[in-house]
Symmetry: C2
Subunit: 183 residues, 2 copies
């Protein structure tokens, strides 16, 4: 067995664990046709922790992630609000929100930020019935901080008209008009 056989096996090991972090050393040794000890030496060499630690990591990561994702991450942080008048929110983007190759933030994150701010300024049970003139001026890159400003421009009966502008370092990247209707 040459050195490259070892390297190849370790590469396979990484792939297997990445696609299934819940795999035991025993199963790995069966899949790669080597002893458990070899698997353990490989994990050592690659600094891959044992099953329980991996599971705990997955659990902790996603536990936190799902919490923040459901709470505010997708939405941004509300930093100012005058009910039925205006509101400002911030959203720190990262690579998980972007296309892998281009690192451009996916549109629905920007949309979600705008939508949730629009909903926040009209604090009522509302439904979005229309959006117009939604425009991306410049693609947003992962890592940039988005600042959204919402303004209520008109209230007509049960209908609310809200403009949302999003900027990166005061450069406009997105603007939209939302039409909201109270239920």
């Amino acid at each position: 067995m040459s050195t490259s056989a070892k390297e190849k096996r370790q590469q396979q090991l990484i792939e297997i664990i990445e696609t299934d972090p819940f795999v035991t050393d025993e199963v790995l040794s069966e899949k790669l046709k080597v002893s458990i000890q070899t698997i353990r030496l490989d994990r050592m060499a690659l600094a891959i922790p044992e099953l329980r630690i991996r599971i705990k990591d997955v659990a902790r990561n996603n536990y936190d992630k799902v919490r923040t994702l459901k709470k505010s991450e997708i939405v941004g942080e509300l930093i100012d609000l005058d009910l039925n008048q205006q509101g400002i929110s911030l959203l720190q983007t990262d690579e998980t929100m972007a296309f892998e190759r281009t690192k451009i933030i996916k549109g629905h994150y920007i949309f979600a930020m705008a939508e949730s701010l629009a909903l926040a300024v009209i604090d009522a049970r509302v439904a979005i019935t229309g959006v117009a003139n939604l425009k991306y001026a410049v693609p947003v890159k992962a890592g940039e901080q988005l600042k959204a400003k919402a303004k209520v421009t008109m209230i007509r009966g049960k209908e609310y008209f809200v403009h949302v502008f999003i900027t990166v370092k005061d450069q406009p990247v997105f603007r939209s008009k939302f039409i909201l209707k109270t239920l």
Copy 2:
């Protein structure tokens, strides 16, 4: 110690584990001032699994959730595609995509479905530069299946104009025009 003392402790135990599933029996026994054995009897009675199982559950739940959420759930399933012409996708909605009280699907899910289909029909490195006439006809309720149809209406140099219509049981719920620009 009355029976209600036991019930009270078990109630506290449920609360502690719910807010922190990563807590060991030992810590629980310290917090609740009873022996480890009592904690274990309580867990038995309440059918709460041991720490490792709890961690594994959290990991598995969220692992699957994040995967499907990141991969295609948010996007829908592509069922038909003529490149640069048209495409159709389906998205099964559920309660995790909806507002808790109203069960109305959040707008950005619908938007994401439309956006990703628009991107899929133009199979190139593109950026969305504008969207117009985005309109929600009827709020979508959790559990309904969305069907998105995209049509490329015009190609002008590097710009692509794509219309996306979304229906629930052939009832229109959303329509939009995307303007995409190849990079």
